[in-house]
């Protein structure tokens, strides 16, 4: 998509690198037909009353009206906002702090890095199940603390409608911060040693150097990390299924689960498509301008 170069009037512009262009045709076709085509198809059918099978009888905005009146969808969106906001902030802050600590030329750095990155090797389903047990009041953290003597200790986020989404957030952070740390660490390693020397000569405290010098220099790494985290947030599904399956009640529902449940369990494709179109719109609003600024407009600055 970014292969668009400004024509400078040379006639053989299109024939340059012909082999490379030919070789990329299958990929371009895949992108256009499968990704773009599938997306357009979904959006079109979200305006129909398709049930189990897609059919083209248009009902205007009915599916969207029903969607935004459905309490479950509203709760899903609200959960996504809470989950997204905190997981973005915490995974960036914790990930960067861990990376900064790791960057202090400590001993056994490899070991620590491996340990931190291990959770990322587990799938969301496994992560979810592990944390389902850890947060279960009868077997997990609560029962361990109680058996140590603090009998009034209560910690059962997965069974409390008001805070269940934070229980899911804990598991997501445990799984995801290792990767953020590694990305950040790579960014830190890319900073020239001379910058640090100069800062030390000028007597700038270390935290100030990080905050005012290093972080602005790591802009690219931060953007990449943000896009990775943000896309992970919008599609969160398996973690919720494994930990709570949306419960208690519908307190931990998320949009992706709404889409799946209505498309397949409720046999209402139209409603599922409307919900997935809303997810697409969200992603587009957040990520497209960003990606454009970073990757498209970046060339001018460089």
């Amino acid at each position: 998509m970014a292969g668009h170069t400004r024509g400078s009037g040379r006639p053989n512009q299109w024939l340059r690198n012909l082999n490379a262009k030919l070789a990329s045709i299958p990929m371009i076709l895949t992108a256009v037909v499968i990704f773009l085509g599938g997306t357009v198809w979904t959006v079109v059918y979200s305006f129909t009353n398709s049930k189990l099978l897609p059919r083209l009888s248009f009902v205007g905005l009915d599916q969207y009206e029903r969607l935004w009146a459905a309490p479950r969808w509203l709760i899903s969106v609200q959960n996504l906002v809470i989950y997204g906001f905190f997981s973005l902030i915490f995974s960036l802050v914790i990930g960067f702090l861990l990376a900064a600590l790791m960057d202090q030329k400590i001993r056994f750095e490899n070991t620590f890095r491996t340990i931190m990155l291990y959770p990322f090797a587990l799938s969301f389903i496994v992560t979810g199940l592990v944390w389902q047990w850890l947060l279960n009041p009868e077997y997990g953290i609560q029962s361990v603390v109680r058996s140590l003597g603090w009998t009034s200790f209560a910690f059962d986020p997965l069974y409390n409608s008001n805070i269940v989404i934070y229980g899911i957030l804990i598991a997501a952070l445990w799984q995801g911060t290792g990767l953020v740390m590694c990305l950040m660490l790579a960014g830190l390693r890319g900073i020239d040693e001379d910058i640090w020397k100069a800062a030390r000569v000028d007597g700038i405290p270390m935290w100030k150097t990080y905050l005012l010098v290093i972080i602005p220099m790591m802009r690219g790494v931060f953007i990449t990390t943000l896009v990775i985290i943000a896309s992970g947030i919008v599609k969160v599904y398996d973690l919720v299924v494994a930990q709570t399956s949306g419960g208690p009640g519908i307190a931990s529902e998320v949009p992706a689960k709404y889409v799946y449940d209505y498309m397949f369990q409720a046999q209402n494709l139209g409603q599922g498509f409307a919900a997935s179109t809303m997810m697409l719109v969200t992603v587009a609003i957040i990520i497209v301008p960003w990606a454009y600024l970073e990757f498209g407009g970046g060339r001018k600055r460089a």
């Binding site: 309490p71 949306g246 369990q265 409720a266 046999q267």
Partner: protein, 411 residues
């Protein structure tokens, strides 16, 4: 592999010259994977293999919610199995309308299904535009309250005989540290429990008016308000259940950690597996002991349209095998469900099953909500009731208003 099973099938046909003229491997998909269910399916497979054909078992784990999307996408995707389980009713309606399923009317008239299948509503659910598209195999009813005798003994109260006594006994159970009513966290359990309360408290006619005629006013009316009051009681009594799956909730009743559970007759298999006896270890109250009515939902087999002629012939054999009296008895005893034929003998049935057969014989039956409502409306209902049961701050009045809205837009 294929060759060998073909040879085996061939050998069987030679050995049984009076068997079916054609022998074929039929793949049958279903979601019966728990211990008792698998044993019941084995009976069907045995009966079908005896006709000289071969049953290729296609069990899909993870209950209907997981299995149905797989089945539907195989049929719509052009890779149909030879036969598949659905809950009869409206789950396969659109597949039939799209012409993907096979019309069984010929064999049904030949074998007089309309006369042997009782109640007739079962076959009605298989009938679309006057043609029959599925073979019902069993009747499962939802309207049962399972009570743990041990739990009531521990609490020092008598085992209740109806819902009101049960509600009255709840404080005593709570005092003894027992959860009065186990309701698992899966959404369909809360929705199902509400439907059961509705039949028991508001009666058969109101049930039919709300779910059958989709009468919005009845759904907002005083009769249903009473049902929501009862659901409010049930919600209070279910506090502290903290399990997800229905069989875990049943297990709480079996172990005496919970006083009772509203669950369909499939729960009976769990009691049997735990070696408990109806009457002494546990008590069953059909229609919550208030209104002895049972719904006649259940399972049926649908046959996708196949190009292979031999397999199509074998499909007919399978359909007639499923309704064979001997198969019906063997299958349903293991499954804990009721047979779809009124003319078979179930002497080996236990007390609870006999109660069910009695009610069936009296004709106190209603259609199941799977038969009356579309999957879409069912799902909306599940969303509402799983929220209602989990969220004590939602008032019965608000819930009823939302319920009436769902009924108004139901199809």
């Amino acid at each position: 592999m294929n060759l060998r099973s073909f040879a085996a099938a061939l050998a069987v046909t030679v050995a049984l010259p009076l068997g079916a003229a054609s022998a074929a491997d039929l793949e049958v998909t279903h979601w019966w994977t728990s211990g008792g269910e698998a044993a019941a399916v084995a009976e069907l497979a045995k009966a079908f293999d005896a006709t000289g054909n071969h049953w290729v078992d296609g069990a899909i784990a993870g209950s209907g919610g997981t299995a149905r999307p797989i089945m539907v996408s195989r049929i719509t995707g052009g890779d149909p199995m030879a036969a598949t389980q659905f809950n009869h009713g409206r789950q396969a309606e659109e597949l039939v309308e799209a012409g993907l399923m096979r019309d069984l009317t010929d064999i049904a008239t030949k074998e007089k299904w309309t006369e042997i299948i009782k109640p007739a509503s079962l076959l009605d659910s298989c009938t679309i535009d006057g043609k029959i598209y599925c073979a019902p195999v069993n009747i499962h009813s939802w309207q049962w309250l399972w009570l743990s005798n041990a739990a009531f003994k521990q609490a020092g109260v008598d085992v209740p005989k109806n819902w009101d006594e049960f509600v009255a006994a709840a404080p005593a159970l709570e005092k003894a540290g027992i959860v009065p009513l186990a309701v698992g966290g899966q959404p369909w359990q809360a929705a199902g429990a509400f439907d059961v309360l509705m039949v028991a408290i508001a009666g058969k006619d109101t049930f039919q008016k709300v779910f059958g005629d989709k009468d919005e006013e009845a759904a907002a009316g005083p009769e249903i308000a009473k049902v929501f009051k009862a659901a409010d009681d049930a919600r209070r009594m279910s506090k502290g259940t903290n399990v997800q799956d229905w069989n875990q909730a049943t297990n709480m009743v079996i172990t005496g950690k919970a006083g009772g559970q509203i669950m369909g007759d499939w729960a009976q298999g769990e009691f049997q597996l735990a070696g408990q006896k109806a009457g002494t270890d546990y008590t069953c109250l059909p229609g919550l002991g208030v209104n002895e009515v049972i719904s006649t939902g259940g399972d049926a087999f649908y046959f996708p349209l196949l190009k292979d002629e031999e397999k199509s012939k074998a499909q007919e054999v399978l359909a007639s095998t499923l309704l064979n009296p001997a198969t019906q008895v063997a299958f349903n005893l293991k499954k804990g469900s009721l047979p779809v034929r009124g003319d078979v003998d179930l002497a080996a049935a236990n007390d609870c099953m006999k109660k069910g057969l009695d009610i069936l014989a009296k004709g106190n039956v209603i259609q199941g909500t799977d038969q009356l409502l579309s999957a879409d409306s069912q799902k909306q209902k599940e969303d509402l009731f799983s929220e209602f049961f989990a969220n004590p701050s939602m008032t019965p009045e608000d819930a009823q208003k939302r319920f009436a809205d769902i009924i108004a837009s139901a199809d």
